[in-house]
Amino acid sequence: MKALFNPFRYIAGVKALIMGLIFIVASALMLYSGNYIQDSYIHIGMADAPLWYVFAMQIVWWLLPALLLYLCGVVLSKSKIRIIDILGTTAFAQLILLMMIAPMLLPAVVSSTLEMLSALQSGAVPDMASQTPMLIYGIWSTFCLILFYIWNYNAFSVSCNVRGWKAILVFIAIQIAMILVGMLL
């Protein structure tokens, strides 16, 4: 159970970074195959973008908060922290995004989404029975989103040896900043 919420007690550094980069590449390939793109920190949108651009966006939305967390860790922590740990743990946390993206490619979820979009565009009320896959996906993605924040906080906490209200406030501030940057871009 501990590992589910805080895998960074057991994995960090280069090993986590290599695995994280594999998750990022896999996510980019999945997004590209479904004509999706991570257009902001925690938002997936539809776009007909080239693979390199989809991959670059994945890297940007991982690296930007990771570097901010590292800088805050340098200021807050009394320990000698390593950048490889924060990069590795936050990259490993991208597994949650992969878990969010993978079901988006399921035919049932795709058809359910397209059906709802066309119903909304024509002003009709979407048939609720056909929306079941999307509803299940909604619950799954909410669970993943909560886990994504828990993992990223624990990545910050373990890598930088910071705890308590100061660490939580800094983490929340960075998450809000990332969402605002995503909205501005």
């Binding site: 960074f8 007690r9 057991y10 994995i11 960090a12 550094g13 986590a16 009394k78 320990s79 000698k80 922290i81 390593r82 740990d85 743990t89 373990v158 890598s159 040896n161």
Partner: protein, 94 residues
């Protein structure tokens, strides 16, 4: 076979720090009385003392310790930092 008891450092009655009043030689039955201070390392918990022992035995290599304990490097470093902080507090309180 007698079981070895853990060395108590905290008073079970009031929670204060204990000190050694008496030492006994099992060979010649001599008892030395006095007021002996407990070394800061002995004030650590049994798990923390085990950690310090393991740290010395692997020549201070946190990477080796992380591999042996099945934990990540920063987790092991954080445990060490916590012990350092405790020892510094004990030292400053003497």
């Amino acid at each position: 076979m007698t079981t070895k008891k853990n060395f108590p450092t905290i008073c079970p009655s009031c929670g204060g720090q204990l000190s050694v009043k008496s030492l006994h030689c099992a060979e010649c039955d001599t008892t030395v009385n006095g007021d002996f201070a407990i070394h800061p390392v002995l004030r650590l918990s049994a798990e923390e003392q085990q950690f310090v022992t393991a740290f010395i035995l692997c020549s201070g290599s946190l990477k080796q310790m992380a591999a042996d304990m099945g934990l990540s490097y920063p987790t092991v470093r954080n445990i060490l930092d916590e012990i350092i902080s405790k020892l510094q507090n004990y030292e400053s309180s003497i």
